[in-house]
């Protein structure tokens, strides 16, 4: 009997002057991770298909007129990539600045950190007499499970992806409208309980800015009692069925305040169903 071995073809590219070897089909972003180069990403997530819309991960690619999104461009043999040139830094700074000038990023910790690192100044647009247009929407509190605050939404499409082809296949939400007026919406903006939503909470799980928030977290934040530094995270297995989803229970003051799942878990890829995500009240005897 002959043994068949599948060998992965490797490609070698140069990033910031250093050779980096990755498996064929890997992205430039994956190669940057391999090389230990931090690349900001917003619309990218390891458990979602890249949509390359935020453009914060752009890099300079030799031979390409414009910058390229590292999150979706496959690495090919001999590529020469620069991740820290003035052009790259400028584009990243402007993208972050643009976002900061239009939406509330106060709860987007990564973005805050990158804005500082890239020197973004979102306040330099407009003036007292000419205020800039911002996304201002009332918070949608339509049920006891999660809230939607689109004035914090950066339109990264992650929630749409998670609700659709990438995880849940429910398609309760999509991007509606166009340009700066584009919003994530149900059909005719009907309330979530009247939509196709099955309350898996996977959209909340992938939201990078707090635009989608578990109601427990939202309520605690409203009264100034949301304290991540005081929280513990306990990993367990969901008790509802035999699939074996891993749950991370976020606990504050001896109460579960939210449930997530590790995105690298072989069963869930970070996604859960309504029971694992929201069905924990019995733990507290409720």
């Amino acid at each position: 009997m002959t043994e068949t071995t599948i060998t992965e073809t490797a490609v070698t590219l140069t990033i910031d002057g250093r050779p980096v070897e990755v498996a064929e089909g890997s992205t430039i972003h994956a190669a940057c991770v391999e090389a230990g180069i931090e690349t900001p990403t917003l619309c990218w997530a390891e458990n979602l298909t890249p949509v390359n819309v935020c453009r914060v991960c752009v890099v300079e690619l030799e031979g390409s007129r414009a910058l390229v999104p590292s999150c979706s461009r496959p690495a090919t043999e001999g590529m020469v990539v620069q991740t820290d040139t003035p052009r790259v830094r400028h584009s990243r700074r402007m993208v972050l600045e643009f976002l900061g000038s239009g939406v509330d990023l106060s709860q987007a910790d990564d973005l805050q950190r990158w804005m500082k690192a890239y020197g973004a100044d979102p306040d330099r647009y407009g003036d007292e007499d000419h205020p800039v247009e911002r996304v201002e929407e009332p918070v949608k509190v339509q049920d006891e499970l999660y809230i939607r605050d689109y004035s914090k939404c950066v339109l990264c499409y992650k929630c749409v992806e998670a609700c659709g082809d990438d995880a849940q296949h429910t398609f309760a939400i999509a991007v509606a409208g166009r340009g700066f007026d584009a919003r994530i919406s149900t059909e005719f903006d009907v309330a979530l309980p009247d939509s196709a939503c099955v309350y898996c909470g996977n959209c909340v799980g992938v939201c990078p800015t707090g635009a989608l928030q578990f109601k427990t977290e939202y309520d605690l934040r409203e009264v100034g009692e949301w304290r991540p530094e005081d929280q513990t995270v306990t990993r367990t297995v969901c008790s509802y069925c035999g699939v074996g989803c891993n749950l991370d229970l976020h606990v504050q003051d001896e109460r579960i305040v939210k449930v997530t799942s590790p995105s690298d878990h072989s069963v869930t890829s970070g996604h859960l169903c309504i029971k694992g995500r929201f069905g924990w009240q019995y733990v507290h005897g409720e």
Binding site: N52, V53, C54, R55, V56, V58, A66, L67, P69, S72, R87, H90, S91, M94, V95, F98, L99, S101, G102, R124, Y125, G126, D127, D129, H130, V132, E133, V154, L155, G164, D165, T170, F171, A172, I173, A174, V175, A176, G177, R178, G179, F180, D181, A182, S185, T186, E187, F188, V190, D194, S195, A196
Partner: protein, 588 residues
């Protein structure tokens, strides 16, 4: 029964009947597939099987009820297997669709507010329509710049869309000129008659192409040096060869008739006055690339061109020139017409694919390119009608004769859309290499006060040049070297009485309105650019810091946007600043 969650709203009988009719015209039964049948094709394949009929179905709803109602969306969602949230997302993407009940039951009068109509006084037109009781919608370029200000009437209650100016007699400014190539049949052959088209040499090229075979046609197109006339000037021969080299999957030829670049109307006139030429050239493209499926994606504001193309397709099919063994070439080829619904971005080829497939008209990241992953993810040759027209001559006279016109690097002739302050606005054809000054003379010189202030080249995505550029030869290489562009063939003249600040602010507003919103640099950058210019307009000056900011914003839009819309959104603005066309603060 469907497994898509639908709300309680139901379509009216009239709405359902309108959708059924639209689908029947496209060979799709408007019935909900029984579950057992749906299981045969499952998952994503099932979701995509009928989805490309979404845009025609939404048009039917809009035309019937004057808006797209929740019940209408549910009906379409059910028969096309499209989630209602996604159908709503598509409906809200387009200017011609309304998702709120109209406050009037009449037609909607779309009045263009872009540059040519701006300096021709669109507000007077809008006022007269309102005075007559019409409901006015101010919107972007309608592709009628030679007869500015432009009006397009969107019908409701089942009344068809129409353009009042289409009823007026048409004459080409260069009528009778023996040197015309691409325009030689316009005003001569009857656009509704296949016999007339044939009597003027029509279908000779397809016959010849059938004799030559695909390889020889590809060879001729490549040797001719023909490049795309939609604005990007990509070599047509390279594109066609790449598609021809693909095998094992269905292939497509798409005519990009979504002409929406402000100042551009050339394809409209070609499609209205010589529709058979467009479809004959598409058949040649199909033969050369091995594609059997032809698609015309035409902007929704062109009702006459749509009707003429559909008429030409029907006549050609009846005569055996389309369909199985089209024109006896041994190659099967047919063409379907899809209407856009008011979105500039859908002229970007990958946005066009998404729009036609029933998704939001958002551009795709490239690579992969359309030649391998185009319409429905399959190999696709996308061409502009003007580009296609050139192929007829290349096949008939051969590449050497074709190259006797124009220059070495820009062979052939070019269609140019003359508008604004010129004596005789309209569509012109000149060999590449003609100077800007000679072209303006050909169009009757500078009108208005007779003093040229600037020319907008290539449309809103192009750039301004000043009176010192009259000697500029109109070729791809010379315009590029001069830092401007021929783009889609826009040549719009402004006299010294025109308010250029107002024109530039409107161009910035155009990009703000037309950005699809997908990527951050363009979605936010186009808004901030417009705001900065409005601020300048109100103050009457632009501080050095603000001027620098405009440059910084332009840089990120050029460098990091997904598509050409973002890449060019700052182009005209920057050129206007560089030429001193808009007011600035005195140096400190």
């Amino acid at each position: 029964m469907t497994d898509i969650y639908l709300g309680a709203d139901r379509a009216s009988d009239a709405e359902a009947a309108a959708v059924d009719e639209a689908l029947r015209e496209r060979g799709v039964d408007a019935v909900v597939q029984p579950e057992t049948e749906r299981l045969v094709t499952s998952g994503r394949a099932r979701r995509l099987a009928r989805r490309h009929c979404l845009l025609p179905a939404l048009h039917a709803l809009q035309n019937e009820a004057g808006w797209i109602s929740p019940g209408g969306i549910n009906y379409v969602a059910e028969v096309l297997d499209v989630p209602p949230a996604e159908a709503f997302g598509v409906a809200t993407f387009y200017d011609l669709f309304r998702t709120e009940p109209p406050d009037h039951d009449g037609d909607t009068f779309h009045v263009c507010v872009d540059a040519a109509c701006q300096i021709a006084g669109y507000d007077d037109l809008a006022a007269s329509v309102r005075a007559a009781g019409g409901h006015v919608h101010l919107g972007p370029c309608l592709g009628q710049c030679e007869r500015a200000p432009a009006l397009f009437v969107q019908g409701a209650g089942g009344r068809p869309d129409h353009v009042p100016a289409d009823a007026e007699p048409f004459e080409l400014p260069q009528a009778g000129d023996e040197s015309l190539r691409l325009l030689r049949r316009i005003g001569v052959a009857d656009p509704s008659s296949l016999e007339s088209y044939r009597a003027h040499g029509g279908y000779e090229a397809l016959r010849r192409a059938g004799e030559m075979g695909a390889g020889a046609v590809l060879e001729a197109v490549a040797a001719s040096g023909l490049s795309g006339r939609g604005g990007a000037a990509f070599p047509t021969g390279v594109k066609w060869r790449a598609v021809a080299a693909e095998g094992g999957r269905p292939k497509h030829v798409v005519a990009n008739c979504d002409e929406s670049e402000p100042g551009t109307f050339k394809d409209r006139i070609v499609m209205e006055r010589d529709p058979f030429a467009v479809i004959e050239a598409m058949s040649i493209a199909g033969l050369a690339t091995g594609a059997r499926n032809g698609w015309i994606y035409i902007r929704g504001e062109y009702p006459l061109a749509t009707a003429r193309l559909q008429g030409a397709i029907d006549a050609a099919r009846a005569a055996g020139l389309l369909g199985e063994d089209a024109a006896g070439t041994g190659h099967d080829f047919d063409i379907a017409v899809w209407r856009g619904a008011g979105a500039y971005i859908c002229g970007e080829e990958t946005a066009l694919f998404n729009s036609l497939e029933g998704f939001r008209g958002e551009p795709r990241n490239k690579p992969p390119f359309p030649t391998t992953h185009g319409l429905f993810g399959e190999p696709t040759a996308v061409n502009n009608p003007e580009t296609l027209l050139n192929v007829l001559d290349i096949v008939i006279e051969g590449p050497d004769a074709y190259r006797t016109r124009g220059t070495e690097r820009s062979p052939g002739t070019k269609l140019l859309c003359l508008s604004g302050k010129v004596g005789r606005p309209g569509l012109y054809e000149v060999p590449f290499g003609t100077t800007l000054g000679d072209l303006l003379e050909l169009a009757g010189g500078i009108a208005g006060n007779g003093e040229l202030q600037a020319v907008l080249m290539g449309g809103a995505a192009g750039s301004f040049v000043g009176p010192d550029s009259l000697g500029l030869p109109l070729t791809l290489e010379d315009t590029r070297a001069a830092g401007t562009t021929l783009g889609s063939g826009v040549v719009m003249a402004f006299d010294t009485s025109d308010d250029m600040t107002g024109v530039v602010v409107r161009i910035a507003e155009f990009f703000r309105d037309e950005s699809c919103g997908q990527c951050v640099p363009c979605r936010v950058g186009a808004v901030r650019q417009h705001e900065t210019l409005v601020q300048m307009q109100r103050r009457g000056s632009l501080s050095p810091a603000r001027r620098a900011l405009i440059g910084e914003m332009a840089e990120v839009m050029v460098d990091a946007s997904i598509c050409g819309l973002g890449h060019t959104a700052a182009s005209a603005v920057r050129s206007a600043l560089a030429l001193g066309l808009i007011r600035e603060a005195p140096s400190p």
